[in-house]
Symmetry: D2
């Protein structure tokens, strides 16, 4: 079950970076939703390598095909199978990977686990696997938007030491998409882009923070104990390649406050309850409270660098390995649609769970 | 399914802070494991309120009873049902909670979700619910220790601004248990205790960071995509009451490095592969690499404080509420066994999954 | 996960025939349902040994206690934990079972699987395990009745060669409960009772058929492929102790017809679709069609008989074993509430699934 | 989750009879298994329409493609995605189905459930969906054969009133495949074929019984309570299109015996336990006992017949409908590989579960 996510809106991804392609099966999608490839492709284009000078130059169109689950442009309620063919097969670029484990990649751990690995590219651990998630997430975002009035978005908040202060309540999608690094503060974005370019030229890489936001989530989504909304979001985010941390609301910073300072006071106006601060990040006791949900995800610098590094070969002898050809100086701009997708998948699943147990809200 | 955790070693917790008690059913435990209440009680005692002057003074013995799943002191392979009776019923202390929502608690969100709540104590959202997890975690820890040679432990690393530097490779359980705050650095622990005492007297509370460690995990546990080991750990930790963040290995701090600096070089010695640094935190591509797993969990300051705070009542009118009677100035000492339990539950589940798919390792 | 059933209305049973008791945790119950022990006990009394002269004379009151999940007589939406204490501990009656495997019981297979077994009574394989199911089923029946207008019932249709012809459309609960064998045809029931009494005196046992019925199920419950309504019912029924077969609608008898004869013609009246025959048994393509659901379950004769039979001991030597003390000449009267419970559990789960994916029907 | 089956060896099927094709994702397959399309295609050919004069003449090659999960002819342990393209698109043949519901098909129930349906062919309810199951089952059969020494097979036991007596212990695959009806008794097979031919010419259809067999299953597979081996087999079989019943071992016939007659005596020889009769059908208490597993599945006569029948249209007005073009006079020959596939899927899942909880057997 390692390759499925969600309980009621359940996705199963498949595919390696080399082979017949990558894809996803979406099970549990509500019927009668208008859906064509045009709803999916834009997010795949935002995830695609080669979309700008600051991401990995791998050239693939990543064109999605819906193979099942729709009829005359509407969902049937049956599984939606989506497929993106692999195009960019350059096995020769990977020849050295057949015999050596790349440091801080999953080459070694896959062999330790399975006793076998597809050494052409990252195999299943390739960022290419996220195509299925982003495609499924596009459907989830559409359901949230059209049926629940929920808007999901994400942006780059920090690249190494360069940080932007963004207000989750007011940030706009068009400002995020206004530059290639996907940071809605244009001035900070320019600095980030310069740093990433510098890293690209140096054959090195940088990490940073993506902030995810969901606005309009009604109070009542999420489950009391294990499937708390923040727990499912944490899992979703830590399942993304290169992610190393997650915090929500006040997060790690909140520990500097006392309880008295940290609590979010409730107020009521016109029969509606709200909080005057939002250190909880929109979730209390695992359940949404109607405020904006916002959280951060830390992504490490991408492991592939154009420098010789110590490693071992498949026979467990010491050797060195140097990245060759293209590399991705910063995963963050492409991580933005991934964070959005995973957020939407968590939320739509909980929306359906809430409807199942407690009826229409 | 909100109240179950794990796929193959699966626990289901039940119970409110008031009512017949709290408990857990453990399904999937390997048979023929020696097991009695004496294996469980010590961890419950570490979780118990009233264990020291710096935690909530609520008085309960939290005595566990095994109701099923063992025979002549050994597990049968059938579900292990464990039960802790509720003793400390002081409903009058909660009278005001019947009509007002406590700020930054789950009172309001439970009503938003379910349209009903048990206003006596925290109901299902009470820290009392973690009894079941800690009891099940004690079994998981025993299996890991005896059948896989894995040691799981946790300690308080930071209380507000007071931080300790602890080496996950060498920290010892007895040093953790040597003081009431469960920080293995005695000098720092003393400072932490003073701060918490001060907070208790001030009717306020503080948060901080617990670090979790697993040593001896063989390479190969964890799943490639959604059920990455760090993803399941993140979910486990964010499902704990009052937790707001999780990071693993280099975590949020790792974003300050470049890829070249951040990568963990592989070396081999005597046919065994290891890394010379451990920024990955023992997990690469979602799968353990044989190094020590270590991660941090941020806990916010406890929401109950002995001060008047703005809130609303159940009729959605503005009012104020002041905590009365006892309060918990710092959840961290009691969070330590919770973090250990959830870590062990994640690991034993993945150990069994690895055995299922790939055979004995 | 062997001990859980259902996806959204999920039950987990625990307990052996000897030990602290047996119980069930019900997860996913809708909140605000009026619920006390008085809703559960009547079905447990119908399942109880010693209820009449034709069932096993074991004496237990089987008194249920709700330990969690309700507040002031209403469900909270949190897990409902129910517990029945074991009373009738007569280990000495089981002494011989410590060293010998009973034929056609699960003694041998439990040892083959787990390498250990609780030889006192049937352990986990005891019919006592069904207490948890029947208790949970009582809640499911209440939800179906009150929230969906669905009535679930079952009755004994055949004991060995003595068969009754009952109309699933019109059979009444009070006629089923009018006699101790739970066959709504009084004349046939009398014959059945005589046969069972004869068997009891002869130290032997008989099997037969229970028919299950659900009336008022709206069209649209059930899932297209693997979780067809009849598939989930089949699994539910074959999970009952001593069951050996399941068929639905025309069932095994339907194979004697041609397709032309077998098809159920549709007709419409006043904007409502119905079928003029019901060989489909209320389900088409895995989904309910609005007609009455009815199916049969075959139960073998109970394995414990008061006669010497060939078997092996735990050291795998040939020996013989003779049942001692009490025995159950016919499981059918007590199987009736079990079949009802499992039917209700399947239906309420699908009702919630339908609500989740397709909204309120 | 309606479209997934299995816990550890988990398949997810997708696809309608019209559209981009049908397929399956297999998750949890052990790594390093030799696997190419040549392992899959033979079973798909046995399932294929047009394979003989007694099955539906629809013309499709049903050529399978493995899109992921293998590398250099071996499984990687990652999801195996398999795809069969749709070829035979004859929408005009289905024009009448756009406005009328076929009797005893799922047309009406799909609309009742989803509010939409793909009226071209059977959509998701088409037998074409079973391609994914049969493809996945071919992998499961290979694992069982090579890694556990288990042989799975099935055959036609009865067509309407024409029944064969086959010994599950000794029946051979080559005798099953020796004729087009897949009944290993050649003389009875000839009669069956004549009856089916007659039905085909009459534009009518017949049903019957397929018997499934698993030989070499070690004692210890299966779970005590809900996931009994026979319960999972029952669900698997009742999830097949047109199936109406399941019984195992003595089954419905066993109710004519008394307990004394019905019990299977144990004997031991050379340290191995066996039973001298096998009325249990190889399973006791839900767990395999080492004897041959055998069970029967009832399939109704196919609903499509070439005769005018009463039905309603999509506006709920009374009308009639007559099947046009090709029809399938008997599903049984093609059901044989489906029964084998589902049996293998259940068994391999339980083999992995046993390994997970109890270690290598």
């Amino acid at each position: 079950m390692a390759n499925s996510f969600g309980h009621l809106f359940r996705i199963t991804t498949w595919g390696e970076s080399h082979g017949g392609g990558v894809g996803v099966v979406v099970d549990g999608c509500p019927p009668r939703l208008a859906l064509t490839e045009a709803d999916i492709q834009p997010d795949l284009d935002r995830r695609r390598p080669g979309q700008s000078k600051i991401v990995t130059p791998r050239k693939e169109s990543d064109t999605v095909q819906i193979l099942s689950g729709t009829f005359e442009g509407k969902t049937l309620g049956t599984p939606i199978s989506m497929w993106v063919k692999n195009e960019d097969v350059r096995s020769e670029a990977y020849a050295e990977m057949a015999t050596k484990f790349r440091p801080s990649h999953a080459d070694y751990t896959y062999v330790a686990k399975f006793g076998i690995r597809n050494w052409q590219g990252g195999g299943r651990t390739s960022a290419r696997e996220t195509i299925g998630r982003v495609a499924a997430g596009a459907i989830a975002k559409k359901i949230l938007r059209e049926q629940f009035g929920v808007e999901v978005l994400a942006y780059v908040k920090q690249v190494q030491r360069i940080a932007a202060q963004i207000d989750p309540e007011s940030v706009k999608a068009k400002d995020i998409e206004a530059n290639i690094v996907r940071c809605p503060d244009a001035a900070v974005a320019a600095k980030m882009i310069r740093l990433i370019e510098k890293m690209r030229k140096a054959g090195d890489s940088v990490g940073g923070i993506v902030e995810g936001v969901a606005r309009g989530v009604p109070a009542g989504w999420g489950e009391p104990v294990f499937d708390r909304l923040e727990a499912d979001l944490a899992k979703a985010m830590l399942s993304l390649p290169a992610s190393k941390g997650f915090d929500i609301g006040s997060g790690f910073g909140g520990i500097l406050m006392t309880g008295r300072e940290h609590n979010d006071p409730f107020r009521a106006r016109a029969g509606k309850v709200f909080t005057t601060t939002n250190r909880s990040g929109g979730i209390q006791g695992g359940i949404s409270n109607g405020e904006t949900i916002y959280f951060r995800v830390a992504f490490k610098p991408v492991a592939t660098v154009m420098h010789e590094q110590d490693t071992v070969d498949v026979d467990f002898h010491n050797t060195t390995l140097k990245g060759r050809g293209r590399h991705d100086p910063c995963v963050l701009p492409r991580a933005v649609p991934m964070v959005e997708a995973m957020t939407a998948l968590v939320l739509v699943d909980h929306a359906l769970r809430q409807r199942a147990q407690c009826g229409e809200s």
